[in-house]
Symmetry: C2
């Protein structure tokens, strides 16, 4: 099929009091996201740039679902222009939410995760239980203090230790010293225990610094990296993934404005579930329901399903629920999310009376005990 | 002053039903944006990482203004970590809006615009009137069709011609051919008219492609560039500005989710007015009130004031109101915004019965007629 014949569908939810208003908002999206000029002055040659409105369906009294079919030729093979076409100018309205994009365009523009669930499991040789993850914190400690924590987490059996997303290159623990100390500590613990813990330092920074952080992390022996794509720029996720060097875990910092509004922004599952996976996130941290953040059970479950569902050539991404999961409530979340999940517990491991070594052992034993008995999605 | 003694203030607006809830939300921000763990388990060494709550003031029945003083040492001289500290995790809540940041931290981390208002005026040799700007569109035209439009806009006296932010590298007009044709056309018009039009092509793309676009634009003779910082990643703005090669005009595409919500995200003047200016935007396009976008007169006026107000060492940035300004209503906006403004009229110039050459002449004559009679902010 010629590029000029390809179209892709985008689904928006609108708030509108009447069908006429919904239809006129759909028409506004159609123009705003393509030619962005009055149609009365549109040259014939540019008519092929206009999307078609496929349907305007009422969902509730004031909510409407609109599907537009966009011509692929306004993208120009550019993922940034693709994001612009999806939601560039209409992000400035506050009554248009984007909820879905057809898979054909994602398959064409993106490669999906390089490692994904299967690749991360292979690094750990763990296939039959959910994985555990924790965060090294707080900012203000020295490299050796972080290393001591990393050692105990690792010896206790945590599968993946990531940096807190707020660890950067502070004077209290500069990036190189901190990650070197942690990598050595985790290696020592791995040697002692005979099991395997992966370490994902946070490399989030401006473009040039991020490249240096990434190269240094790999050189020193990190197993993966953590980035906050909304801070680095979304294309950084694709750039890092395409190097096919190590798994990339994506953190939602600074992205909340895109997904926390009921009537605008992106749906949780489209943003983190489809787009971040398409861009190459091997694991996606998301704010779990029932914790500190305002997301519903259904939203989180849909996101989990989207990350782990089959999308043609894309590998699946590991969902990483986080944000207030407690060690004593992990049973419940294992039953909800099942096998293909990395459970991220931060604060709760630090507050256990027996210390973080014991807390990590408890965390691991719960995951092992659930092993084959949980739903396998 | 040692870095470890420096603090900076951040002001948030919260929605809360009682003073107790406001205070507990302030406490939550304090922890979430720094150590992100229960304080009961916080090591002594990390206590210096915690911000202090300076004040919690009631503004309306349910709106509270909270000021926190953050320790500079959790930033690590990294602008991306700075953005993370301002609004990383709390972006995931939907009742916390960030409205101001103290200037000392901006002065320390950022350089502001390289050209700014004075630099752009110098390129044009125009000092005593507002400037005119238009957008080349629509996507779907060929390079020669864009060039013909650019020629007529330029001959009509438009000060700055920018690409529509949706022009990328489409098959209908690839980047290099398009910008080369437009640069030649504008040069021809400049030679004929004896006056000067600047051309700012859109270089927005993924990191590597953006660099190639930038280099090519400069090589071919572009006078400035247009980027959408929310699509490129915010640090790209600083990276380009620090090259000190040409003015950078920033477009708000994809950033609306940050500034269109009343109770979350950023205030318009903080995001575009302080941050984008600090990052190096020489001109900032914003969605004007009264047009297609939902922003109030006061919001837009505050943004204009913020971009053009003195902030110590930073040059001022040109405010560029846009989004539905009509040629026949430009008088009103000149009176509102005054001398230090670039008025961006897109669609309305294309729909004038006399064509874009005549429309551009009319636009210029209105700006000249207002010349010295308007407020000079």
């Amino acid at each position: 099929m010629n590029a000029s014949d390809i179209t892709f569908e985008v689904v928006y939810h609108l708030i509108a009091q009447t069908k006429e208003i919904a239809a006129s908002t759909a028409e506004r999206i159609r123009v705003e996201q393509s030619v962005e000029m009055p149609l009365s002055a549109l040259p014939t040659q540019a008519e092929c740039s206009l999307p078609n409105i496929q349907s305007v369906k009422q969902q509730t009294e004031t909510r409407w679902e609109v599907t537009l079919s966009f011509p692929y030729n306004i993208i120009g093979e550019d993922i940034i222009q693709f994001l612009n076409v999806l939601y560039g100018n209409i992000s400035l309205y506050n009554n248009i939410k984007i909820v879905d994009v057809s898979s054909n365009i994602l398959q064409r523009l993106f490669d999906g995760p390089t490692f994904g669930i299967e690749g991360i499991r292979k690094l750990l040789h763990v296939y039959n239980r959910p994985l555990s993850c924790t965060a090294l914190k707080p900012v203000g400690l020295s490299p050796s203090q972080f290393a001591e924590r990393a050692y105990n987490f690792s010896l206790g059996g945590i599968d993946i230790i990531k940096d807190d997303h707020g660890l950067a290159n502070q004077d209290s623990a500069d990036f190189q010293q901190r990650i070197s100390a942690c990598i050595q500590a985790i290696k020592k613990a791995n040697d002692k225990s005979g099991s395997k813990t992966l370490y994902f330092p946070n490399i989030t920074a401006g473009t040039e610094q991020l490249k240096r952080n990434f190269d240094l992390a790999i050189e020193k022996g990190a197993d993966g990296v953590l980035i906050s794509p909304q801070l680095t720029g979304l294309s950084t996720l694709k750039d890092l993934s395409s190097q096919k060097v190590c798994p990339i875990m994506a953190h939602p910092a600074f992205s909340g404005s895109f997904i926390s509004q009921p009537d605008s922004g992106f749906s949780l599952q489209l943003y983190y579930g489809k787009l971040w996976r398409a861009l190459g996130a091997d694991a996606v941290i998301f704010p779990n329901t029932g914790g500190r953040f305002p997301f519903s059970y259904n939203q989180c479950q849909s996101l989990h399903n989207t990350l782990t569902s089959k999308i043609k050539t894309f590998k699946t991404s590991f969902p990483v629920p986080a944000g207030g999961i407690q060690l004593d409530s992990i049973d419940k979340w294992i039953k909800e999310y099942g096998l293909q999940t990395i459970f991220l517990i931060g604060g709760s491991l630090y507050t256990q009376p027996g210390g973080i070594l014991d807390a990590s052992k408890t965390f691991k034993s719960i995951l092992i005990n659930h092993g084959s008995s949980i739903k396998s999605n």
